[in-house]
Assembly symmetry: C2
């Protein structure tokens, strides 16, 4: 009530800064880091921003777009340098994709939305640029390199979406086990190929599988001509 007190509330908290897309997305990232993507809802964000849900629709088209914006923000954490793994394009490419996967692993639910709602933000473009550059050093034809980038990102994203859920959600763990158990329980007479390949089918560490998957794609990409290519 005294005169000298008046500015305090403006300083105590950010004091309801004007709404803006940037502010909404920043808040969304905070909420996601603290409580996961499924708490990043319009209503929850509105509460966080001290307004009603309807207000957010001035800046964000819908929940999916909001999640896409959060994803692009997270992509800023990917290490594009491929630091400390030597000069070879293959090693560097492996490192960049490993960093991308690691970031998605920490935010499982985001990997899912990455598969469906393709990102197109600044950080995504930088990632594509970097992968393109590294892969083109393989000397493969330009078309193969261009299409290959898509496959590499898709593979990394899908792997993250699959395995990341496992790591976090206890129910998903059971899910993998259910598949493994089902494969084990199979009748040799009706499913001979499964029986034959059994130990390998569910074996291998995640790292081994990821590295192998990377090599499979790189080898395939650099040796498989695009249909109708000049040669």
């Amino acid at each position: 009530m005294t005169a000298g007190r008046e500015p305090i509330s403006r300083r105590e908290r950010p004091a309801k800064p004007a709404l803006s897309r940037q502010w909404i997305v920043d808040t969304a990232v905070q909420v996601m880091r603290a409580e996961g993507l499924d708490k990043v809802t319009m209503r929850r964000l509105a509460k966080e921003l001290d307004t009603g849900p309807a207000s957010l629709y001035v800046y964000v088209a819908n929940t999916a777009e909001l999640h896409a914006a959060v994803l692009d923000a997270l992509l800023g954490e990917v290490d594009l340098t491929g630091a400390g793994v030597g000069d070879g394009w293959r090693e560097q490419l492996r490192a960049v994709l490993a960093s991308y996967t690691a970031v998605l692993f920490e935010h499982p639910q985001l990997a899912r939305s990455a598969l469906v709602a393709r990102p197109s933000g600044e950080n995504y473009l930088l990632l594509v640029e970097r992968i393109l550059d590294l892969l083109s050093r393989s000397g493969a034809p330009r078309e193969q390199v261009a299409w290959g980038v898509d496959k590499l990102l898709q593979d990394a994203t899908a792997t993250a979406a699959e395995h990341a859920t496992q790591a976090q959600d206890p129910r998903a763990e059971d899910d993998w086990n259910a598949t493994a158990r089902a494969l084990h329980a199979v009748d040799e007479a009706t499913h001979p190929a499964i029986t034959t390949h059994m130990p390998s089918l569910i074996g291998g560490s995640i790292d081994d599988r990821m590295n192998w998957g990377f090599d499979v794609l790189v080898n395939g990409i650099t040796h498989t001509p695009v249909p109708g290519a000049k040669g």
Copy 2:
């Protein structure tokens, strides 16, 4: 009210058959075919089955499990024979995976859940068995074949999840366009590799890309040894 009328109501409609997991899943498939997966909710299904949502939890652990069951039912539609494409394992494998992708294309939202909640039903096992059998005819080492099946299914599923959304949801179309536009709008000075690879980066028909993706994987799988393999 007359005596002779009494059985009619039992015949007019299925007359509320006893609840069972099978009956719930069948109904879920129907609802999905008619209105899409996001109408397959516990509450909606309960209404359809003329009971309260709580009743369903006796047979189904949660919504995710319900969706997984629907997916396995749909997998029954995949053509495993690879009919009419010759005897080569490669052509047959391509046909089976194309059929798998086609089924998922018709039910976009299901492809998403397939990536996260691994199926383990009867139809899934038959699909794995068939792919395993075909791929092993390549003569590649057993470990590569075993791990390769996973990659082939993952690739097909991810492709379906990505592209299928495009086809149905008008918003997703914009999404692709947004990515395409972003790639076009890029500055040559800051993103030289994107500029260089530009026409190819977003070009190519879905079919060409899918076929190329298949060849990339098969070539990679058959030529890339699993880490620590005997030889």
